[in-house]
């Protein structure tokens, strides 16, 4: 782990996924995420894994779920329009509780938008892209090094909790090549999904104490049914109101129950700050620079960087914002995360959005200018 590497964010995602045991990728070419598919195509066969270039985005998501049902750790990568197309099958994975990871490299939209520029316009779509109530986890790294570790974590969270996990990159992070020195803490431990207990009757959607039903792979000797219909603990469709309520509350409740194990935030100089910035992804790199440069000028600015975007770290943000003169939320969209921040802070501190939607990164200057105005 000691040698330094030159890695793009996209490369780091691939190696992090492989380190966590991913052995299946299915995808479809799309800018700016194609490099991820390219690298999986080269690396997977070396490990005995399989790469599939499917006929479209929908098929890629379907194949990933199919491979996961057979017991392989599976992943796909896409961007805006492709992410929209994948939504129905992401909902299937949520409803049937099939572990899988989706990397979404954000470009500006809607529609074809600005394919080669950066954006954070999918913040809300990652949470609410598919129809219906569902559990989903979203993680947004901000460097190549973190992309490695967090993609590994994404695979592990998905396998452990049987929840689809989305890695949210933006075009800048995906393409930016940087020197990465991996340290001990970057080692990805492999976590496997929980299997059935041999010798006991298998209930594929059993309401266990830990809320995570054991997963049997197809062909492992447990014949059972997987469906996107609302099902009872046997896996078969049900229309019984009491059962539907119980099953759906368990499925969605996993997020609340394991919230503290899933949520990860990073703090920079938050405690004594007058102004708090809340930013994620590549914008958090600009924000980090602002904290550094303004500190030199004797100004106290802090950064709270959500690494986990969903479940949203509302408690952490509320605590960090307490007593501050202002909270600044810079994001490359017209104001999506800021709504969640407003919900978390609930009117106790003034909140200032800072939005850029021309495909360019929000610069440190843009953020520091706003802070100067406020101070």
């Amino acid at each position: 782990m000691n040698d330094a590497k030159l890695l793009a964010g996209s490369d780091a995602c691939v190696f992090g996924a492989l380190a966590a045991g991913v052995r299946f990728f299915a995808g479809y070419p799309i800018t700016p995420s194609s490099e991820i598919a390219n690298l999986f195509a080269r690396e997977l066969p070396k490990l005995g894994g399989k790469f599939m270039q499917m006929e479209d985005e929908i098929a890629s998501m379907g194949a990933v779920i199919g491979a996961s049902c057979a017991g392989l750790k599976a992943i796909t990568a896409t961007s805006g329009p492709g992410f929209s197309l994948k939504q129905e099958n992401i909902g299937f994975a949520a409803e049937a509780e099939i572990p899988c990871v989706i990397i979404n490299v954000m470009r500006y939209g809607p529609s074809t938008g600005l394919p080669t520029t950066s954006s954070q316009g999918d913040f809300m779509q990652t949470r609410w892209g598919t129809h219906g109530d569902h559990a989903i986890i979203v993680i947004a790294p901000y460097t190549a090094r973190e992309a490695y570790r967090e993609t590994g974590r994404a695979v592990n969270l998905s396998e452990r909790y049987r929840i689809p996990v989305i890695i949210l990159l933006d075009e800048i992070l995906s393409h930016l090549r940087e020197r990465v020195e991996f340290k001990e803490e970057d080692i990805v431990t492999v976590i496997d999904r929980k299997g059935p207990v041999p010798g006991t009757p298998y209930l594929p959607y059993e309401d266990t104490d830990d809320m995570i039903p054991p997963f049997a792979g197809f062909g492992d000797g447990y014949r059972y049914h997987i469906t996107g219909l609302i099902h009872d603990k046997t896996g078969f469709p049900t229309s019984d109101p009491g059962t539907i309520d119980r099953v759906m509350r368990r499925m969605n409740g996993k997020l609340d129950y394991y919230r503290d194990k899933i949520v990860r935030v990073k703090y920079v100089d938050v405690d004594n700050a007058d102004v708090l910035i809340v930013a994620f992804g590549s914008v958090a790199r600009s924000a980090e620079e602002v904290v550094r440069s303004m500190k030199k000028a004797g100004k106290r600015v802090g950064l709270l960087r959500p690494v986990t975007l969903w479940p949203f770290p509302d408690r952490e943000i509320r605590e960090a914002a307490a007593g501050k003169r202002a909270v600044i939320v810079p994001e490359m969209n017209l104001g999506q995360m800021v709504r969640e921040v407003e919900r978390a802070v609930a009117g106790t501190v003034p909140i200032h959005p800072l939005n850029r939607i021309d495909g360019g990164l929000i610069t440190p200057h843009e953020i520091s200018d706003l802070i100067e105005e406020l101070l």
Binding site: M54, I58, G62, V64, A70, A74, F92, D220
Partner: protein
């Protein structure tokens, strides 16, 4: 119910949701008889289905069963088979499922040639949603979305699959149930992607709007309009109008995708970098 039903059906899930007189039960019967004849261990069989009346078949059969999203059964099945090549994968779809919303997956599955068997229930209509016309509804037939008769030309599924490169294509009917079992056996034993198109009947949402009042009328229509390949070869285009060929239509020996991929893995692990 005899022993074969008790062995392969999930008896506690019956009765099924299909309408009285539906052809789907005949197809399910032919299928489990085919599995019995093939001697496959139930644990090694994966049955994957899409959405619609046909999609419900997986719930009733005692295998590894996966009921997916509309049109996408082949995509899920592709991942399943690639991940665990030892599984015997069967994919059940309806005509709208396979050739409208799932048409792209069908042609690419044909092209790729992964060793699995697609079983397409062609009843020429969207049954579950109440009788809307599908890509295989015959021109001028009536449907709830074609109250004046359809104007859309229709697909010939078998021909479409041959054209897309499937290595085995056959057509059966719900009337010729014994032949259907033979075709499923042959398709399953074929190494590569096999398609069995089944002309079946939907009395409730197709027949009663199209002068085929009862299920029996619909089955007799199949009997009267189906032709063996050899017989069809001797007939003129005019005589063949409104008739269709049944039996094995196409078989080709083409490299199978999963085996090819395993060879690729072996090659890459030896350090070679060029398949050619």
């Amino acid at each position: 119910m005899d022993a074969i039903h008790r062995k392969y059906l999930r008896m506690d899930k019956l009765p099924h949701i299909w309408c009285p007189g539906c052809g789907n039960g005949i197809i399910m019967g032919s299928f489990i008889r085919a599995i019995d004849r093939l001697g496959y261990d139930q644990d090694s069989v994966a049955a994957v289905s899409g959405i619609g009346c046909s999609g419900r078949i997986t719930g009733y059969m005692d295998f590894n069963t996966l009921h997916t999203t509309h049109g996408r059964a082949l995509a899920f099945a592709t991942g399943l088979k690639m991940a665990k090549p030892g599984l015997k994968v069967f994919v059940f779809m309806g005509d709208g499922d396979a050739t409208a919303i799932g048409g792209n997956h069908l042609i690419h599955a044909c092209r790729r040639n992964i060793d699995m068997t697609a079983i397409i229930f062609n009843n020429h209509i969207y049954g579950m949603t109440g009788g809307q016309y599908s890509p295989t509804t015959p021109r001028d037939a009536y449907a709830t979305t074609a109250p004046y008769g359809t104007m859309d030309p229709h697909f010939d599924i078998a021909k479409l699959c041959v054209g897309a490169g499937a290595s085995y294509v056959a057509r059966g009917t719900s009337y010729h149930a014994k032949m259907l079992t033979d075709l499923i056996v042959e398709g399953a034993e074929h190494k590569g992607f096999s398609v069995i198109e089944i002309i079946t009947h939907c009395p409730v949402n197709f027949g009663r709007r199209n002068e085929l009042e009862t299920p029996v009328d619909m089955l007799l229509w199949q009997k009267d309009h189906a032709l063996r390949m050899a017989k069809a070869a001797k007939m003129t285009d005019d005589e063949l109008k409104d008739r269709f060929v049944i039996g094995r239509i196409h078989r080709a020996d083409i490299p199978e995708y999963v085996e090819e991929y395993d060879r690729l893995i072996e090659m890459v692990r030896k350090g070679d970098t060029d398949r050619g």
